[in-house]
């Protein structure tokens, strides 16, 4: 009974924090106030000050996380709405998703090796540009660490969203297709949420890129471990 009460209060706490930080971001759209960043920091501060461990918090937290499943499925909806466009640019999008996934895995693998990072950690970082539930499963297949994969995915997602306006400006990426591929292919669902701030086209491209990257990533992931000899 106390467990139920506790998990409900954790869910409510997460909801309240989410609505507060979203409202704040709508009022002041600064990168530092991005809901995922400010929400996470605020949540950690509250949990640490109340002396609640992550494991305990997740008794309630997993209820929210379980909605990730149908949400990934729901991505079929924007995909369907943009199907004519997707048919037209099918090869560009598949090509873009392939380049994004390959670049993401190769660059982090080579950088990790150059910086002499533990190969177990590097393997967990390989799927960092894939959407969270997919990255967890890919990390498991590659015998990496699932939690570490989530950390990599999260940092990539948050940083990608923050840095994207500057990258787009200095590398001159100004088409919806370029932005959608870059955001969805690099920063998965968080990038897709950011792409929605540009236009619906960028959002749709980003979400299909993310989905295709998930498929490509789960196929070339094991290949990358072999190529990088880890």
């Amino acid at each position: 009974m106390r467990d139920i009460f506790f998990s409900i209060s954790m869910i409510l706490l997460t909801l309240v924090i989410y609505f507060v930080v979203t409202w704040l971001y709508k009022k002041y759209p600064l990168p530092i106030l991005l809901p995922i960043l400010s929400g996470t920091v605020l949540m950690i501060i509250i949990l640490v000050s109340l002396g609640i461990s992550y494991e305990k918090y997740m008794i309630g937290g997993q209820v929210i996380t379980s909605l990730l499943g149908p949400t990934v499925v729901a991505l079929a909806y924007p995909l369907y709405k943009q199907r004519d466009f997707l048919k037209k640019y099918l090869f560009t999008i598949i090509g873009g998703a392939f380049i994004a996934t390959l670049t993401a895995m190769l660059s982090v693998g080579l950088l990790g090796k150059a910086l002499r990072i533990d190969s177990g950690f590097i393997i967990s970082l390989l799927p960092k540009s894939l959407t969270t539930p997919v990255a967890i499963e890919v990390a498991k297949v590659l015998e990496g660490n699932a939690s570490m994969a989530v950390v990599g995915v999260t940092i990539t997602g948050i940083f990608g969203v923050i840095i994207s306006p500057y990258i787009f400006k200095y590398v001159r990426i100004h088409t919806s297709i370029g932005r959608g591929i870059a955001l969805g292919g690099t920063s998965h669902a968080m990038g897709t949420a950011k792409a929605a701030e540009y236009d619906e086209l960028a959002f749709s491209i980003s979400s299909i890129t993310m989905s295709i990257c998930a498929i490509i990533g789960s196929i070339i992931g094991p290949l990358m471990v072999w190529v990088l000899q880890m």
Binding site: P70, S107, T132
Partner: protein, 135 residues
């Protein structure tokens, strides 16, 4: 009130697709995650009008509008990695940040370049057709 019930019902339909996708993944022991299979399945069902878009529209729109909420519990997991604040963690974060910038710049720029090239070729072809028609 009707609207709320509709959204809940439609989210349940999405759950079914998620469940079917995960079952398919386990049955064939695929490396492609179940939810992605569920998504592709729903996409095919929508395209062939097996599932009318009206049946999932409100639920899908609702879930996608609060996408960020579902990541908060997962990202809070960072608190279990205090070693990210050590030198080793710093190197790890540097690798992630640099790789993120490279990926974003390379994928965005390359795709934009090829998309423009394709568009230009199509425009040229359209031009040729129209000029030959005028002759």
């Amino acid at each position: 009130m009707m609207k709320v019930l509709l959204v809940i019902l439609q989210v349940c339909i999405l759950y079914i697709f998620s469940f079917v996708g995960i079952s398919i993944q386990h049955f064939f022991s695929l490396t492609i995650p179940g939810n992605i299979i569920g998504m592709l399945l729903l996409f095919v069902c929508l395209c062939f009008n097996i599932v009318p878009v009206k049946m999932i529209e409100s639920g899908a729109q609702f879930l996608l509008s609060i996408l960020m909420l579902f990541f908060i519990p997962a990202t809070v997991g960072v608190m279990d990695y205090p070693e990210l604040l050590s030198v080793h963690g710093l190197l790890l974060i540097i690798a992630i940040l640099v790789s993120t910038m490279i990926t974003m710049a390379v994928s965005g720029k390359t795709t934009q370049y090829f998309a423009k090239k394709t568009q230009k070729r199509e425009a040229d072809q359209a031009c040729e057709t129209s000029s030959s028609q005028s002759l």
